[in-house]
């Protein structure tokens, strides 16, 4: 069996190909890395107007029943029980060692929790969640739903909604029932839209017909999220990395930081109380040469870390990266050397996001 035969496809596969998508394997799916405009043009268009992304490879699920929020809190330090109906949050699933099993979104839909997890982790996350559920709480995977993201400053006028950033609601777009949240992975305002698979192409065509909407592939999705300082699981986060090391302490609920009753709490608490050896930081290489993931980071000749994501930021007009460095090298402005093709490339620790977020708060 060849690789392409074993790859899964999204409900938008035919449309992606019709639009000139350059299809590549990603997390077991055949996905468009770019369309005809190319990564640079797609990236800049999304920041200027609006871009449509097929992210149907991501895992969607519902958690239903009395005590669903409390059950999920066993696995995440996020405040699930305190989340109001019509609101969504970012959270981390942790293992016993306080390592990050996945990062995910959860939303309070009133009668249920709606979850979106990474494509590459859904086979791990869903059984993990299932394993902690009391009787009466059910996890329902939603493999028959597609997920689209419409991102960019034009979205608010193309599809007006009463939601602010991280709001979520059931609504109709172009006459099609959807679950839409005011969120995304680009740093821009926009919507993430869950829709029944059989209506996904009709919805995507309706969105593409709106003025200024361009299809955007995974290549620009990656450069957009990197400029926005957002993590990619598998690159920037993994099971050996704690929320404190990842600089995602903000995703932990205040109440949860008093109760310490989530999986891995002992390690996370120790990291908060006694500090960590390494921290995720933003990095700006000097000049135009990008430093990619796995690039060694040195300071005064000593190895002090590694780049986890890096590339060229089209909106910045310069290379940008993030990675982990020793705690004493994590201050903004710290001079580093990135070892690219055996040569030191001068760089500095820099504040993230590189590109200011433009959320509708």
């Amino acid at each position: 069996m060849t690789e392409s035969e074993s790859l899964r496809t999204t409900p938008l596969d035919a449309l992606n190909r019709e639009l000139g998508g350059r299809m590549v394997p990603f997390a077991g799916y055949s996905m468009p890395v770019q369309y005809t405009a190319g990564i640079m043009a797609e990236h800049l268009h999304c920041r200027a107007q609006a871009g449509l992304f097929d992210v149907s490879h991501m895992g969607q699920a519902e958690l239903v029943g009395e005590g669903a929020a409390a059950a999920l809190e066993q696995l995440t330090p996020a405040d699930v029980q305190g989340l109001k109906p019509g609101r969504q949050r970012y959270g981390l699933l942790l293992n016993e060692a306080g390592g990050i099993v996945d990062d995910f979104m959860f939303a309070n839909m009133g009668d249920r929790l709606f979850l979106v997890v990474n494509a590459s982790r859904k086979q791990i996350d869903l059984p993990l969640i299932e394993s902690v559920l009391p009787s009466g709480v059910k996890l329902r995977p939603l493999p028959d739903r597609a997920l689209l993201a419409l991102q960019g400053p034009a979205v608010a006028t193309l599809i007006p909604t009463p939601m602010s950033f991280m709001g979520i609601m059931e609504m109709e777009i172009a006459g099609i029932p959807v679950i839409a949240s005011r969120s995304g992975y680009t740093g821009e305002d926009g919507l993430e839209i869950s829709v029944a698979a059989e209506q996904a192409e009709k919805l995507a065509r309706a969105l593409l017909a709106m003025p200024g909407v361009m299809p955007i592939g995974l290549g620009a999705r990656d450069s957009l999220r990197l400029e926005a300082g957002l993590c990619l699981y598998g690159n920037d986060l993994d099971e050996t990395t704690s929320p404190v090391e990842a600089n995602l302490t903000w995703s932990m609920g205040k109440r949860r930081r008093m109760e310490w009753n989530f999986r891995g709490a002992d390690v996370v608490r120790d990291h908060l109380d006694h500090g960590v050896k390494r921290l995720r930081v933003g990095i700006r290489p000097e000049g135009r040469q990008p430093a990619r993931g796995h690039t060694e980071i040195r300071k005064d000749g000593a190895i002090i870390g590694e780049v986890t994501s890096g590339g060229f930021g089209p909106s910045i007009g310069a290379p940008v990266a993030m990675g982990y460095v020793a705690r004493d090298a994590a201050a903004d402005g710290t001079a580093l050397d990135l070892i690219v093709r055996d040569k030191p490339l001068p760089a500095r620790v820099a504040a993230m996001p590189f590109q200011p977020h433009r959320y509708a708060r």
């Binding site: 040469q289 990008p290 990619r292």
Partner: protein, 124 residues
């Protein structure tokens, strides 16, 4: 253009008198995507055929560029440093990489335009 030769690494070679001008093909620039950085060899460097001598970085990936023939680098296109997008817009013109004064015989696996087109077709 009739004297343009091509390699399986998707470089082109155009002979101008005693010097070979070298760049990457339209197929190569299209596969790479938007070029954002290029690292060129030093003029005067002696290179062997197949040696990695330049690096081209697009938004998504880095690729080596090889010396298709042995010889001495006589000139590099320093204009690419400030305007690497020339590699995308004019890959066989203003987007040239470097010039080599050949030493010894040319490799016998260089392709003409038709053979290269057939080779690219065979990769699809």
């Amino acid at each position: 253009m009739s004297d343009m030769k091509y390699t399986k690494d998707h470089e082109w070679i155009r002979f101008e008198g005693d010097v070979a001008v070298i760049g990457i093909t339209d197929h190569a620039q299209n596969a790479l995507g938007d070029v954002v950085f290029v690292d060129l060899p030093e003029a005067g460097r002696e290179v062997t055929a197949g040696e990695a001598v330049a690096v081209v970085e697009s938004v998504k990936a880095a690729s080596d560029v090889y010396a298709p023939i042995a010889g001495r680098v006589t000139e590099v296109n320093s204009g690419l440093v400030d305007e690497p997008a020339l590699i995308n817009s004019e890959p066989t013109g203003a987007g040239w990489f470097f010039k080599i004064a050949p030493a010894g015989a040319l490799p016998d696996d260089l392709m003409d335009a038709n053979a290269y087109a057939a080779y690219v077709e065979s990769l699809a």
